[in-house]
Symmetry: D3
Subunit: 324 residues, 6 copies
C-alpha cells in the first residue's frame, strides 16, 4: 500500500473515465496532512478585457487526465515522494471584486495553515494577489516579503484602470509590492512583450528594482542563461512562482484573454521550469487559462503540463526538505 | 436626399465591407436629433455563471449587416419614417459592479434627455436595471413606474447571491420593483422555464402581481393568445420591452450564459414581436448574447434580427406619434 | 448481381471508410447509361456576401455517407429501381464569372445529352441559371420554359448588384425568366422571408406571375396545403426543383451565406419533398451549403438528406416512366 | 440538516466552481443507502461509425451544473424526497468489446444489489445491453423480461455487422429480446426515422411485437396521445426507459454519432418524459452523447436536462413507493 | 490636446467596447491631412482555392483592439509622431474581377493623392496589384518601378490559371513586373516554400532578377542576415512592403487560404519587420487573413500585430522625413 | 501522354473540386502496376483514450488537395518517376479488435504481393503492427526483421492495458519485436517525451536495444546530427518509417488522441524527412491524425504534407532502384 495519495492508473481506468480531478488524484476536503495542495481558483473578477479564466480550473482538471505519474527527464515520481491531493476550488464571488479577493485570501490561508504548499490554477492574474497575502504570511515565509519568478507576457504592474480602480489583472504586482508582500528586488519577470500603453509603462517597476527580461533579451540569451540569472536574483529566500499562460505563444496557448504573439515556446518554458530546482518555492500557480477562448483544449493542456512540471520540482523540494 | 440617416446599401457596398455599425447606419456622437438611438451596453458585471455578454454589442453589430431596409411582412421601412443611428457604446466598467451600473445609468440618461427612444444591446440582464432607472425618469415615462414585457427563460426576480449580493443578472427586476421603476402588476414574463432553486422560487414575483407565462402555458395557447393578454396587461401606459436571448431555444441561440432547452422558436418570437404594436414602448433591449459561447454567429444573428423586428415596431410608433 | 450501381454497404464497410462519393455510389466518368446523375457544382462566383458554397459538394459527399439505401416512409429503394451514380464535379472557374457559368452550362449539357436526369449539389444559387439553360434545352424539356418549385428564404429575382452586375446569386431567376428558361406563371417559391431591400422588392416577380409563398403564409397553411397548391401550379409540364438550404432555419442549417431566422424546419421540408411525386421533374438541385460557415457538419447533413429525399422521388418517377 | 444528499447551492458556489459531478451532488464510493444512483458508463465500444460517446459522462456532468434543485412544472424537488448521489463511472475497457460489456454488467449489478435504481449516462447504445442484464436480474425486476420505452431515431434491432459481429450499438435490443431480458410486446420505440438498410429493416422487430412509432406517426398524433399508448403498452410491470439523444433533432443535439434530421424537439421530449409517471421504472439511461462531435455543449446540455427530467419522475416514484 | 488622432485609451474604455476601427483610431472620411492611412480592402476575387480574405479587414480591426499605443522594443509611439486614422474600406466588387480591381486602384489613388502613405489590410494577394498601380504612380514613387519586400510562402509569379486567366492571387507580381510597376531586380521574397507545380515554377521570376529566399535558406541564415541582404537589394529607392500572412506558420496563422507548414514564426517575422527601418517605404499591406478559416482569432491577431509593427516603422519614417 | 498516373492539375481544376483522393491522384482498384500505393487504414480500435483516428484517411485526402506536384527543395517530381495511385482504404472492423487487425494484415498483404511499396495513412498506431506483419513478409523484406525509424512522442512499447490486453496503440512495437517483425537494434525512436507511467517505462525497450532519442537530446543535437545517427543505425537493410503525428507539437498538430507539448516543429520534421534518402524504405505510414479533435484542419494538413515528403523520398528511391 502506498504511503501517499496516488492518481488513478490510466493503464487500468481509461483517462476519460472517472471524476475529473487534478492529475486524477483523490479529491480531499482539506489540506490537512498534505505536502502539496492542488487547488483551483475559478475567478476572473479582475479581467479588464476578455473574461473566461473563471472556467480555468475545470478544464485544466480535465486535461490533466493526460498526465502520467513520473517525469521523463528528471525521473521524479512526485506521488512516491510527497503527499499530494486535489483540495477542490477556493470559495469565490464572481460579482463582487473585493469580496472575491477576501474569499480567496481566506481559503488559501487555511491551506497554508495546514502546512501544505499550494499549487493553484486560476483564474486571472489578480488571484495571485490574495494568494500572496496568505502565502507571505504563512509558516514558510514568516512574514518577510517574497521573491517571485513570473513567466508572463505582461509585467502586471500598472496602477489603475477605468478611473482609479486599483485591483485588476493588470495591477496585482504593483499592489503586492506596495503591500510589502513581494520584495521588488527579488522579482524576475520573463517573457514580457507586446505593445505598451506608453514608452514608460514599466518605469515604476524598474525603479522598484524589478528585473524585467523582455522576450527579445530572452531570445538572445536562451533559457539556461536567463534562469541562471533568475535563480541567482531570488536566491535561497522564500519565493513564489507564477506562470501566466500568456507567457506562451498564442499558437500554443490561444485560450487566454490577452494574447501577445512572439511568445515563449512550450519547449523553452519546460526547460526553464526544470531549472527552478535551486529555488526555495513557497507556492506556485498557473493562471489565465480561459477555456471559452481556447481551441481544442490546447491551452488547458499547456496549463496542465506546466502544473505537472511545477509539481515535480516542488515534490522534489519536499523530499529534500524532509530528508534534509 | 433622404430626410433621415440611411444604412449603407448592400446592393452597392457588400455586407462584409465598411465599418461595423448597427444596421450599417451612420455612427453618430450623440442622440441629438434622433428618434431612436441604437446603443450598445458591453457589460456583464452581473453574470453569476458564464460571462461573455460584454462582447454582445460588437457581434450583434457584425451580424446586423445582414439586415436589409424594410420588413417583409409589415412593409415598414424604418429609415423612411424615423431618424435612427448608432450612438456607439455606453461607458462601462468591467471590474466594478456599482460604478458600472452608474455609468450605464448616466449614459442612458443622456440619450433619454435628447428625446431619443433607446434600443440597446447588452450586456447581461443586469444592464436593464440602470437603463430602467434612466428611462423611467425620462420624458416619455415622467417618473411613473413602467410596465414591462419580458421575453426570457428566467424571471430574474431572485433576491441575493453569494452571501447577500443584491445586484446580479438574476435579480434586476426584484430591484426594479423595489425601486419603484416597474409596476409589477404591469409586468408580463413570457417563456419562463427550466429547473428552479426551489418550488417557491417565483412566489415573491407572483405576490407582487407579476404575470409569469411559463413555456408550457405558452405552448398550449400560442403566440397570438399570449400577446393579446400581454398587451392588455401593460395597457397604453409607458412600457419597456426586454428580450433576453435565452428566451429562444438553445438550438437557435446557443451563445448565452444560462441556456434552457425547450425554449421559444424564432418563428414564435417574431410572431410575438410583430404583435407589440399596440404597446406604448419607451425603450427596449436585447440582452445576454454572449459571443464567446456562440457557434457560427447564430445567436448574434438572432439578436440582430430581434433588434430589427423591434426597430420596425418602434419606428412605426414614432411615425404614428408624429402624425398623431 | 444487381441490375444497377449499388452503394457501399455500411454493414460491411464502415461509413467512415472508402472514397467519399455521393451516397457511397460508384464514381463514374460520364452519365452514359445512368437514369439519374449525381453531380457537384463547386462554384460560388455569384456570391455577394459570404462565400464558401464552392466547398459544398465535397462536404455533402462526406455527410451523404450517413444515408442508407431505402426510404423509411415511402419504402422506395432507389438503387433497386434506377441506375444512379456519382459523375463527379462539373468544370468551374472560381475567378471568372462568365467563364464559370459557361463551363457549368456545357458540363450539364453533356449529362442531359446522355439522357440522365441531373441531381446536383452547388455551389451558390447562381449555378442554377446555367443548369437551367442546359436542362430546359434538353430532351425532357424540349425547349419549352420550365416550371420550378423553389424552396428558399429569398426570391432571387433581384435585378443588379454593385453597379449593373446582372449575374449574382440574388438574380438567377430574373435572368432565367428573361431568357425564357422558366415560365414565371409556373414558378412557386416557398419559405421566402427576411428583411427586404424595400417594400417593393418582389413586385417584379409577382408581376411576372411568380407565386411567392412567404414563410408566414406557409406557417398558417402547413406543408400539405402549400404543396397541393404548388403541384397544381406547376402541373404535369416539365419542372425543375431547386432547394436552397437557407430555406431551412439557421439552427438546422447554419452553414450558408445568407441565413434568415424563422425558417422551415427539416420536418416541414421533408414532408413537402415527399409530396413532390406528382411533379414531372426534369432536374433538381441543392444549393448554398457553405462548409466554412457550417458547425459540426449540420448543414451538409441537411443537404445530403434533402438530396436523398429528392433522389427517392426522382427514382420512383424513373420507374414509373419506365414501366409506363 | 437535510435527510438526503444535497447538491451544491449555485446561489452560494458559482456553477463553474467545484468538482464536476452529476447535478453537483456528492460523489460517493458505492450505491449503498441510495434510492437512485447516478452513474456514468464511458464506453463506445459498439459504435460502428463515429465514436465519442465514451466522453459523454464527463461532459454531461459538466453541463448538469446548470440544473437547479426543483422542477418548474411538477414542483418535484428530487433531493427532498429521495437519496441520490453520483457513484462515479463504471469500469470499462475501450479496446475489448466483450470484456467491456462484462465490466459494465458487473458494475451495474453492484448498484442494483444495493437496492438503488440506476440512472446512467452512456456511452453508446450497446451499453444498455449489459445494463439490462443486471437490471432485469435485480430485485425490482425479479428476472422477468422488462418492458422498455425507447426514445430513439433508430430501432437498434439489427442483427450483425461487419461479417457476423453480433454486438454493436445497432443491435442491442435484438440481443436483449433473444436473451429474454426484454419482453418485445412491451417495447415501445418512439421517434424512429431516417433512411434504412432496406424496406424490411424493421420486420424482425415488428414480428416480435415491438411497437415502433415512427416520427411521422408521432408528428400526426403528438406527445400526449403517443405517451398514452406507450404507458398503456408497458403497463405496471417493471420497465426500463432508454433515451438515445439522437431521438432529438440534430439542430438541438448535434453531438452524436448517427444524427438523423427531422427529429423530436426538446419540447416534445420534455412533454413525453413528464408523462412517464404511471410507468414502473426500474432503471433509465441517456446514451449517445458524443462530446467530440458536439458544438457549444448543446448536446451535453440536452443530455443533462433529460437526465434531470428522468430524475424527477423517478424520485417521485421512490417517494410514492416509500409512502405507499 | 494631442497634435494627431489618438486611439481610444484601453485604461479608460475597455477593449471590447466602442466601434471597431484599426487600432481603435478615429474613423475618418478621407485621407486628407493624414500621414498614414489605415485602410481595408475586403476583396478576394482572385482566390483560386479557399476564399474568405474578403472578411479580413473586419476581423483585423476587431483584433487590433488588443494593440496599445507604443512599441515595447523601439519605444516608437506612432500616434505621437504622425497623423494616422482609419479611412474605412475601399470600394470593391465581389462578383466582377476586373471591376473589383479597378475600384481598388481608384480608391487607393485617392489616398495616395492626398499624400498619405497607405497601410492596407486585404483581401487576397491580388489586391496588391491595383494598389501597386496607384502607389507606383503617386508622388512618393513618381512613376518609377518600385522595389518590394515580400513576406510570403508563395512567389505569386505564376502566369495563368483555369485556361488563360491572368489575374489571380497566384499571379499579381508577374503582372506587376510586366506592367512596369515593380523593378524585378529590387524584389526580395522571403519565406517561400511548399510543393510547387513543377521544378521550374520559379524560373521566370528568377530570370527577371527576383531574389527568392526560400524558407530553408532563411532557416540557415536567420532574420538579421536575410534582412541585411533584403534592405541592401531594395536600397533607398521607393519600396513597397507586402506581408502575406501565409508567410507565417499555419500553427500561428491557420486562417488563410493556402497554408504551408514549416513557415516563419511570429518571432522571426517581428524581428525582420523591425529591421525594415532603412527602407524607403511608400506603402505596405497585410493580406490573406481569411477569418472563416481562422481558429480563435489567431490569424487576425497576427495580422493586427504585423500591422502595428509596420505602422511603427512607417510612423518613424514619417517623423524622419518631417524633421529631415 | 505521361508514363504514370498524374494528379489533377490545380491550375486547371480548382483544389476544392473533384473527388477527394490522396494527392488528387486517380483512384484505382488494386496496387497492380504501381510502384507506390497510397492507402488509407481507417481504424482506431487500439486507442486507449480519445478515438477519432478512424477518420484520418478521409481528412488527409481532403487536405492533400493542397499538395502540388514537385518538391521545392529537392526538385523531385514524384509522378514523373514512379507510378503512384490511391488504392482506397483497407477493410477494417471498428468493433472487433482482432478481426480488425487481421483485415488490415490481409489487405496490406495484397498490396505488397503486387510489388507496390505501401505508404499508408492511419488510423491509430496499432495499425502499424498488422502492416509490419505483411511488409516484413513481403518481397522487399524477405522475412527478415525490419529496421524502423519512428517519429513519435511515445515509445509505444508498453506491455498490456486494462488487465492484460496486449494489443493497443501503446504496445505495437513490443509486439512487433516479440513477433520478430522488427530488429530492436535497428529501431530508432525520435521525439519521445511527456510524462511516463514510471521511471522505468522504457527499460524493456532499451534492454532490447531500441535507440530512444528523447526530445531533449534532439533539441541539443538538432535534425542533421540525429538523422546521421538514425540512418547509420538502420543501415542499408530493409527499414520501415512510421510517423505518428503526435511527434509534432500540439500547436501544429492538435488533432491527435494523446498530445504532448514541447514537440517537434514541422520545420524540424521536414528537415529530418528529407534526410531519409539513404534508407532502404520498404513501407511507411502517417498515423494518429484524429479529425474530430482537430482544429481548422491543421493536423490533417501536417499529415498530408508529411505524406508528400515521404512520397518524394520513396519515389526517388524507386527511380534509383529502377535505374540502378
Amino acid at each position: 500500500m502506498p504511503l501517499y495519495h496516488q492518481p488513478v492508473d490510466a493503464a487500468e481506468v481509461p483517462r476519460f473515465a472517472g471524476h475529473s480531478t487534478f492529475m486524477r488524484l483523490p479529491s480531499v476536503a482539506t489540506a490537512e496532512g498534505l505536502d502539496i495542495a492542488l487547488v483551483g481558483i475559478p475567478w476572473d473578477g479582475g479581467t479588464t478585457n476578455r473574461a473566461g479564466a473563471r472556467h480555468g480550473p475545470r478544464e485544466v482538471r480535465n486535461l490533466s487526465s493526460l498526465m502520467r505519474s513520473a517525469h521523463h527527464v528528471s525521473g521524479i515520481a512526485p506521488y512516491e515522494i510527497a503527499n499530494i491531493a486535489d483540495v477542490g476550488d477556493l470559495s469565490v464571488n464572481p460579482i463582487n471584486l473585493l469580496d472575491g479577493m477576501e474569499r480567496i485570501e481566506k481559503g488559501m490561508a487555511q491551506i497554508v495553515a495546514n502546512g501544505a504548499l499550494p499549487l493553484s490554477v486560476g483564474g486571472d492574474h489578480l488571484t495571485t494577489l490574495p494568494v500572496l497575502r496568505s502565502v507571505s504570511g504563512g509558516l514558510r515565509a514568516v512574514g518577510n516579503p517574497l521573491g517571485m519568478i513570473q513567466f508572463d507576457a505582461h509585467s502586471d504592474t500598472n496602477d489603475t484602470y477605468f478611473g482609479g480602480n486599483r485591483y485588476t489583472h493588470g495591477t496585482p504586482f504593483r499592489r503586492a509590492i506596495e503591500e510589502g508582500l513581494l520584495d521588488p528586488t527579488r522579482i524576475v519577470q520573463i517573457g514580457i512583450r507586446g505593445s505598451v500603453y506608453g514608452p514608460g509603462e514599466h518605469d515604476w517597476a524598474k525603479a522598484q528594482g524589478v528585473r524585467i527580461i523582455y522576450m527579445e533579451e530572452f531570445i538572445r540569451r536562451g533559457p539556461d542563461d536567463v534562469m541562471a540569472e533568475a535563480t541567482q536574483i531570488v536566491g535561497c529566500q522564500p519565493t513564489y512562482v507564477t506562470f501566466d499562460v500568456d507567457a506562451i505563444d498564442p499558437s500554443m496557448a490561444p485560450g487566454t484573454g490577452t494574447p501577445e504573439i512572439g511568445g515563449l515556446t512550450t519547449r523553452e518554458a519546460q526547460q526553464m521550469l526544470r531549472l527552478l530546482h535551486p529555488v526555495n518555492i513557497v507556492g506556485a500557480d498557473v493562471v489565465e487559462v480561459a477555456p471559452p477562448l481556447d481551441v481544442g483544449g490546447m491551452t488547458a493542456l499547456v496549463g496542465a503540463t506546466v502544473m505537472f512540471e511545477l509539481l515535480c520540482i516542488i515534490a522534489n523540494q519536499v523530499r529534500q526538505e524532509r530528508s534534509g
